[in-house]
Symmetry: C2
C-alpha cells in the first residue's frame, strides 16, 4: 500500500557510487530483504491489503517462498510438524548444536509488510552471508519461519513457536476459526498429522540459544533517533473473549427504562478498559467488537468483544483485569446484563537471558552504536514461546510513520535494515564463538 | 422458539362447549391465523430463528403461501412490480374503489413471528369471513403483503410500501446489501423489472383508505390490561450509517497517548446517543456496530455503526440528532478521529386520518371495549409510506412477554387475536359503509 522505502533512501543505480553523506552499508543485501518483503506482501487472502493466517493456502505459499530463499542460502529445509518453515545451515562439524534464529510469516488482518517477516528475512540473509563467504561456524544456524504468532485465525497466539518449544497443549485441537473449522481439521487440511505435532520440537540440548530480530512496533527508537535496540523483556499478555448479554428488542417499541441494551453496556466496558489500563500504566485494547443480531432497528441483545491486556509487570496487569471484571459486573448489575469472560491466551512477562542480551548489544555496538538503547517490548513475540526451550534475546529495528504497526502504513528504511543485518550477523557470529 | 399460545388459552376440543368463564370468540379463525404465523416462521434463511429479507428465496416462498391463502379467501392475486404479494376481493360492483389492508412479511434478523405477519393474516382472515358469508361490500377489499418494511437487507426501510405508494426513489437502485448486490440486481434476480416498479402503485382515487393491524411492540397495552388500541400517530424515524475513523495499530506497541482508537471513540458516541435521547424523551438505538480490522491485537482503525432515532415530535428528534453530531465531533476532536454520518432513511411523524381513526375506534368498540386506548407508535409501519397515497389508521394488538418484539420471544394470545379479528372486520365493514 505504501512505498517500502522513502525516495531519499533508494540505493544508487548499480555501478555508480552513492554520493549520500550517510552511505548505506551493503545496500544490496538490505534491498533484497525489502524486495522479499514486497514479494511476501503479495500473498494475501484479501484483494487489498495483507491478511495471511495459519494453515491457509497463503501460509503454504509463503513457506514455499521462504524455503526457496533458505535453499539459496545453503540450507537444508523442511516444513515441520506444525507447519513452520525450517532451515539448517550446517556447522563446521555436522550435527553440532544450533543457534536458532526466527520470527513469523503470519499476519493480523490488513497488516503491514514487516511485522515478523523482516525478522525471518534478516535471519535468512545472515545465513546467506555466511554461505557466500564460505564460513562454517562451530555451531549450526537454524532458521524458523513460524506459521502462527498473531493468533488471527484461532484466537490463541504463538501456536507455531509453541509447537517448536514443545509446549503444545492438546486442548487447542478444539479451537475453532470463524468458519467453524477446528484446529485439528485445519492441520489435516494443510497436510499435517496432528498426532505428530510433537516432532516440531528439537531435542533438548540441540539448541544453544534463540535470537530474533523484529520491528519495534512503537515510537521509542524513532523518538530517540536510533536505528536499533536490544530488548530487555517482553510484556506478558492476556487475551479474553468477552460477551455482554442483554435482551434484543424493537428499537421503537421498547422505552429506555425497559431496555437491556448489550451494546450500551459493552460500550461502558470499552471505556472502563481504557481508563483502568491507562491509570495502571498498562496497555489494553478491545480490538474486536460486534453487536448482534445487528439489525439497524433492533436493540442489541448480545455483544461479542475481545480484550488484549499487557503490562511490564504481571501483577499490575492482573490487577487491571480484576478491576475490569469488577467494572463490567457493575455495568451488568445496573443494566440487567450478563457479562462473561473466557481467557484464550495467557503469557507471563519474560526476561531476556543476560548473556544473549549482551551478544545482541555487542552486535549493535559492532555497527558503531556503542551504547545501544534498551527497550521493553509491550508486543508479544515468538521469543516468549521459545523461551521455554532455550535462552533468548531480541534485536529491535526502528519503524517509521510514528512507529505504526499492524497497519498498512508500517514502514522501515533501507538504511535501518542494512545496519540491522550487520548487527544481527555480528550477534550470530559472537554467539557462535561463545558456544564453541 | 416459544409457544404461540399459553396453555390456558387453548381452544376447547371441537364439538364440546368451552367451560372457560372468558370464552374466546371465533377461536377457529384465530387458531388458523396463529397456525399460519407458525407456517411462515418456518421460512427462514437461517437454521435457527427467523430471518427473511426482501427479494430473497424466502420472500418468494412466503409470497406463494400468502397467495394461496388469499385465493382460498376468494381473492384474485398477483405479485406486484416491487415484489409485494397483493390480492383483491371484488366489490358488489366490479371495479369499484378498494379499501386497502396490509402489513409486511419481511423480518429483522432473528425475529419474532408476529411483527407485520399478524397484520397480513388478520387482513386475509377478514376477507375470508366476507367470502364465507357471501358478502360483497360496496367497495372492494385489497390486501397488500409488503416485501420490505424493516430495511434489513438494504438499510433503507419501507421499500415495499413506498413502491405501492408511488414514492419510489430511483436513487435506491444503487443501494447494496452486505454481499455487495445492488437493489437493482436483486430486483432482476427476483424476476422483477426495475423499469416497471411504478406499476406497483394503484391509480389515485382507486383506494378509499388504508387500515393496518399490527402488534404493539411495546408494553403499554399489557400494562393497561387491554387487548387493542387505536393508533394516533407514528413517530418519525431517521436512520444513519455512522463511521468513526482512527488509525489501526499494534495493541502492544502503541502507547495510549499515541492512539486514535476508533472503537473507544464510537463507544463514547453510543453512550452519548443514549443519554441525549433519554433526556429529550426520544428513543434512539445503535443496533449495528462492528470494529475493523477486527484483530484481537489490533487497535481498531474504523468502526461502522448505525443510528435509529425516533420521536413523537420531529423537531425534538432533530434536536437530538444535532446534539449527537456535536458530541461525536467533540469526541473526534479530542481523540483525533474523524466522524461521518450518512442518512439512509428519514420519515416525518405522521398522524392518522381522524375519520379512519374513528372507524378503528368503532371497530374496537363493537367488541365491547367502548372507550379504547389510544397509543402513539414509536415503531415505524407501512402505514407511514401508504399515508402518501391515501388516508390511514391502525389497530394495535397487545403482545406479551413485556411487549418484547424483534426477538424470538414475541408473543400474542389466541384470545387477543380473536378479538382483534372481530374489531378489524367491524372496522372494514364500517369503512365500507362510509365509502358507499
Amino acid at each position: 500500500m505504501s512505498p517500502a522505502v522513502p525516495a531519499a533512501a533508494q540505493p544508487a543505480p548499480a555501478g555508480r557510487p552513492a554520493p549520500d553523506p550517510h552511505p548505506v552499508p551493503h545496500p544490496s543485501d538490505a534491498r533484497t530483504i525489502l524486495d522479499r518483503c514486497d514479494e511476501l506482501a503479495a500473498v494475501s487472502s484479501t484483494h487489498h491489503g495483507i491478511t495471511r493466517v495459519y494453515l491457509s493456502p497463503e501460509h503454504a505459499r509463503v513457506n514455499a517462498l521462504a524455503a526457496g530463499w533458505m535453499t539459496a542460502a545453503g540450507m537444508t529445509t523442511w516444513q515441520d510438524a506444525a507447519g513452520n518453515q525450517r532451515g539448517r545451515y550446517e556447522a563446521a562439524e555436522p550435527g553440532a548444536p544450533a543457534i536458532l534464529l526466527g520470527s513469523h510469516l503470519d499476519t493480523v488482518p490488513d497488516a503491514g509488510r514487516y511485522d515478523g517477516i523482516l525478522g525471518v528475512l534478516l535471519a535468512i540473509a545472515v545465513v546467506e552471508r555466511l554461505h557466500r563467504a564460505g564460513t562454517r561456524l562451530p555451531v549450526a544456524v537454524e532458521v524458523a519461519a513460524f506459521g502462527d504468532e498473531e493468533g488471527t485465525r484461532f484466537g490463541t497466539a504463538l501456536l507455531g513457536s509453541r509447537a517448536l518449544a514443545g509446549t503444545w497443549d492438546d486442548a487447542w485441537w478444539q479451537l475453532v476459526d470463524e468458519a467453524g473449522t477446528t484446529l485439528r481439521d485445519a492441520f489435516t487440511a494443510f497436510g499435517l498429522d496432528p498426532a505428530a505435532v510433537g516432532d516440531a520440537a528439537p531435542p533438548r540440548g540441540s539448541v544453544v540459544g534463540y535470537l530474533e530480530a523484529h520491528i519495534e512496533q512503537g515510537p521509542y527508537l524513532l523518538e530517540a533517533d536510533r536505528a536499533l535496540a536490544v530488548v530487555s523483556s517482553i510484556a506478558g499478555a492476556r487475551r479474553f473473549e468477552l460477551t455482554m448479554t442483554g435482551v434484543a428488542g424493537h428499537a421503537g417499541g421498547v422505552p429506555f427504562h425497559r431496555r437491556h441494551d448489550a451494546l450500551a453496556g459493552a460500550s461502558e466496558v470499552v471505556l472502563a478498559v481504557e481508563r483502568l489500563a491507562r491509570d495502571a500504566d498498562c496497555v489494553a485494547t478491545v480490538g474486536r467488537l460486534e453487536a448482534f443480531p445487528g439489525g439497524v432497528n433492533v436493540i442489541p441483545g448480545l455483544v461479542e468483544f475481545s480484550l488484549d491486556l499487557r503490562g511490564e509487570h504481571d501483577d499490575r496487569r492482573d490487577e487491571v483485569w480484576a478491576a475490569v471484571r469488577e467494572a463490567a459486573a457493575e455495568v451488568g448489575e445496573r443494566r440487567g446484563l450478563a457479562f462473561a469472560a473466557h481467557e484464550t491466551h495467557s503469557a507471563p512477562a519474560v526476561v531476556a537471558s543476560p548473556a544473549l542480551r549482551d551478544v545482541v548489544r555487542d552486535g549493535i555496538a559492532a555497527t558503531g552504536d556503542t551504547d545501544p538503547m534498551v527497550l521493553f517490548s509491550k508486543a508479544g513475540h515468538d521469543a516468549m514461546a521459545v523461551a521455554e526451550l532455550t535462552d533468548w534475546a531480541m534485536l529491535f529495528v526502528r519503524c517509521g510513520n510514528g512507529g505504526i504497526s499492524h497497519h498498512p502504513d508500517e514502514i522501515v528504511t533501507l538504511a535501518d535494515v542494512a545496519v540491522a543485518l550487520d548487527a544481527f550477523e555480528a550477534s550470530v557470529r559472537a554467539l557462535a564463538e561463545r558456544s564453541r
